[in-house]
């Protein structure tokens, strides 16, 4: 039975090696390539890193979309109704991109208060709000009412809408 024991050893070795290296690779890959999701409030409070690719979600502020006359560059504002963040994007916006509808943009923060998007996503279903966006707006709302209870700070303009 020596041959068989040897074969089993080989198989066990191969499996351990395979699983081990796969796990190591996966952990490495995940650590480098996760895109964290942030809302305009998160970014306004300085919680987002400036050098990394991240995802920004919120609602496209009404009447904030402007286009450059001779190129595909567009600018719009993403809001969670408490904080606002200007976004710049060069390219073609998705079919369901609308002012007043939710949007998720992937890109980087440039300096303070400008988000340069590489990709803009809107959902297939016109009435659907991505869970992240709905959640971020909810959190901002809760936080806002807590703040309002402790101090008489005037609400930012976005909250009026």
């Amino acid at each position: 039975m020596r041959a068989q024991r040897k074969r089993r050893l080989w198989m066990a070795g191969a499996i351990v090696l395979g699983v081990g290296s796969a796990t190591a690779l996966v952990m490495m890959a995940l650590r480098e390539n996760l895109e964290h999701f942030y809302s305009p409030t998160d970014i306004a409070e300085g919680r987002a890193p400036s050098a990394r690719t991240l995802r920004l979600g919120g609602i496209v502020l009404e009447e904030s979309l402007t286009r450059a006359p001779e190129s595909l560059e567009v600018a719009f504002v993403v809001t969670d109704r408490f904080h606002e963040l200007p976004v710049r994007f060069t390219g073609i916006l998705p079919d369901l991109f609308r002012e007043g509808q939710s949007v998720v943009a992937t890109g980087k923060l440039e300096g303070q208060g400008l988000f340069v998007a590489e990709q803009v996503l809107a959902k297939h279903d016109e009435n659907y709000m991505p869970a992240e966006v709905a959640d971020a707006i909810e959190r901002a709302k809760v936080k806002q009412s807590a703040d309002a209870a402790t101090s008489a700070r005037p609400a930012p303009t976005g909250a009026v809408l």
Binding site: Q4, W10, A14, A22, V26, E32, F37, L72, I92, H124
Partner: protein, 675 residues
Amino acid sequence: MIAELGQIALILALLLALVQATFPLVGSLRGRADWMALARPSAFAQTACIVLAFALLATAFLFQDFSLAYVAQHSNLRLPPHYRISAVWGAHEGSLLLWVLVLGIWTSALAFASRRLPQPFMARVLSVLGIISVGFIAFTLFTSNPFLRHLPPLMDGNDLNPLLQDFGLIVHPPMLYMGYVGFAVPFAFAVAALIEGRVDSEWVRWSRPWTLIAWSFLTIGIALGSWWAYYELGWGGWWFWDPVENASFMPWLIGTALVHSQAVTDKRGSFRAWTLLLAIFAFSLSLLGTFLVRSGVLTSVHAFASDPTRGLYILIFLAMVSGGALTLYAIRAPRLSGDSESPFGVVSRESLLLANNLLLAAACALVLIGTLFPLLADAFGWGKFSVGPAYFGPYFFGLMVPLVFLLPFGPLARWQQADAAGMWRSLRWSALAAVALGALAWMVFRDAIGWRGALGVTGGVWLALGVVAAWRVRAGSPREVVASSPSGARRLNPGYVGMLIAHTGMAMFVAGVLLTEASSVEKDVRLAPGESLMVRGLEFRFVTMDHQEGPNYAADRGQFEVWSGDRRVAVMQPEKRLYSNGTQVMTEAAIDAGFTRDLYVALGEPLQRAEGASGAQAWAVRIYHKPFMRWVWLGAVLMMLGGATAATDARYRRARVASTRAQARAVSAEAESPA
């Protein structure tokens, strides 16, 4: 009337599935032949009820019965008839009905085709399928009933999501489900074998053609989904590593591993426990996929009509089915493997197939972790993450490199102990040719294709020549085959030919993916009628813009002409449609498909007129030149054909004819196994 009949048919189907799930199984454990004999009739009757329910729902759609809430939500008077049929599975309730219909079709086909298999074994197989049917019919009936009334009836319905009003979406879901659900068959065989405590591997031979057919359907289903996304989503991508795509890709990866490990178990009796485990995992991943897509826990470009409250039911069902099967495995598997397995050397066909299985399983684990991590992170409050192509792409590529390198050796290797030097002698010229052609492609087209494209050429040529080598080893030299020597013809059985076809598909797929990804030119530009753009030596002229009325939409249609010098290559008419529900805009891309390149034109949005411009309305336009795009799907089609060819191998049918012997053995195993 229709709704009530459909409801009754579903309830009857549930009761019959309960009979199918219990009596034959209990009968097989108690040795009651009369109870076991209920398996086939109850399976046929259950399927007939589901077919009836499905036909009734389709009728309701066809004749626009808006008193059904489901019909009213997903159809309207202007919807063309063929889309009314596909609207049946356009949303949650109907697609679940399709799920149980497909399961019924598989169950009945199996009940019909395997009458000669031992009765206790088949009783158990059909009972296991019955248990799955019970779970899904109950789910449909109690949480997602498509026959619910909407009273008073509406005069007109909502509309089907325009993205789904498309040929690709008529055929994609049924094909995908045939694959997904088809893995229930090897799963049921595996569970039945575990219940019985079968020590032989004969059941693997019986389940092989079923696994191959399911795998073929899944292959073509995924390819159709990718093709649909490419032309319908309007941005020219064919694979996004999107969670819903991953949900169908994971069972495919494990299914591919299963198809290969079944070969080892069937021919050599080795890998028995591993084959069982893969059969369990392939179907568990199908269930997981159903859960991910249907529960709404994922945000995805493909997720339609999902509902979080229903997710829990599928999750519990998944835990019961997979957990039960794995527990059974843990109890029984140690007895299944062991001394009767034949040993094999480090260089052998077994070890190469083991490498294939490990690489595919690792790839599946990679996809699984990337797909589930955002869900886990959210559940444990680590924050909101998304995992995109930057994670999947490079690491999946890394796992596929050794797979592609080793693949041509597999068919050449002998079982147990292969001759490494001999294999190298058969393949050294292929290796040289692959490297030389890759290098040549890199030198000539370096700017266009880069190192990835060159690698695609090398990989594709290496795999293709590997197929030639595998063919020659069976068939002798090509001349003998042309003379159709009887020995050559015999040795080239459908199983082997299917393998050659599928591996050719893999060669096309590898070359296609790398070439198209490396060398596509994608331009997003501002263009007005009268203007043109040069892309790779082709002049795309935006001629004019006109208006077009469809049955249930109005469209702006662009006229583009593509010129190569003074020769007109193509006329392309991309559209921007506004559907009659009034809010949804759809991009219809124009595609000029070719064997070596696709031309792709899609309209973005109309832009403001520039100051002092000619007055023509400018549009944002996507103009893409995608070399070898078709090879990706042609490769998948070949894989599907290969799987289907292999499934016809007479060896599997012979196994069934010789079943009286097996039956005797099964009965004796029966007596030994503790009930």
